[in-house]
Symmetry: C2
Subunit: 216 residues, 2 copies
Amino acid sequence: MAEHPYVPQSLHLPGYVPMQLSVIEILSGYGLSSLGVVLLVWFVSGQFRHLRGVERTLMCWWAFTGLTHIILEGYFVFTPDFYKRKPPNYLDDVWKEYCKGDSRYAARDSTIVMVEGITAVLEGPASLLVVYAIATRRAYNYPLQLAVCLGQLYGCMVYYGTPLLDGIEYTTAGSFYFWFYYIFMNCIWVVIPSLIALRSWTEIVRQFEHKKGKKQ
Amino acid sequence: MAEHPYVPQSLHLPGYVPMQLSVIEILSGYGLSSLGVVLLVWFVSGQFRHLRGVERTLMCWWAFTGLTHIILEGYFVFTPDFYKRKPPNYLDDVWKEYCKGDSRYAARDSTIVMVEGITAVLEGPASLLVVYAIATRRAYNYPLQLAVCLGQLYGCMVYYGTPLLDGIEYTTAGSFYFWFYYIFMNCIWVVIPSLIALRSWTEIVRQFEHKKGKKQ
């Protein structure tokens, strides 16, 4: 009998420590702290009169995604033993819960660690830099947004693609974990970066088109 | 005794067909056809008087990298049985030779297939589009160059990073294959995309800076 609730059951996780928190506590912890970040950025950015609504909305997203990359995903990258830490902290339990949707995180799959490493170390700080760049309307804010979005999309392609190639089914405990954790939670980072990449691309192209008549 | 020349020797490749071409034939085939592409693009682009030297040089690179992605890497992605095809064609033998530097290609490692798939299917055609975009000075040529370069760099990070995490030594037959195939050949796609990404980034930022005084 396996000592953990993940699929495949053959996955060897010696010293696995069961979760201390309930699913409700884990999800509401992430949800409420994210909501707090969004509200804080929304109200603070409201003090800057030159910022439009769309800029403030983008700042909220970039603060949320940046902190998720750095804190949540960064913790996973630099804590290989999260599943056996005693006593487990909140982030240990978050990842133990998420592993029900994708056990590659507990198995320390090198592709997952690599993609999460790039996300946490490069894209996380870059996302927070976008918040600053939008607030101060730096000239580099559009190419930076495009760059980070493309990185997020590349990561999602590898994340979703490799299990399809391996033909492995990572879902456990019914379809809830598959649809909610694996598909829905990650699809947020497909849909929103796609929209922002498109917006940034369009704005960059528009700048070049404006200049075209004058220079060439 | 293993039926193939790769490391690890435990790699199971039933029906492996030994290479028909020599290393010299393989390398000179790729080298000469690449040289042909570069010379062709250089001379054809020379007919367009408005193109500067740097633009023509970039067009040569993008044609070379685009065709490498589509033909060479595309062949690998869509030919899982390249190592046992009878009689082997030139591309089969190219990949059998390259596997001496990185046997993950023969093992059909899902991360390699995914990264190569993105490279061949998305970045390959996008690279050829860059050739056209530079020649006709389309407004999207800089963000497109930035996007493809960042994709190439992300791919290289995953390509070089995952073996480091797995702690596996893929090199065989001495250090030649490691340094020439694995390090040198791939580092071309680290160095040149880095330079082009930096150039595209700088040019995009410059466009926004020019407009800043007028609009805000």
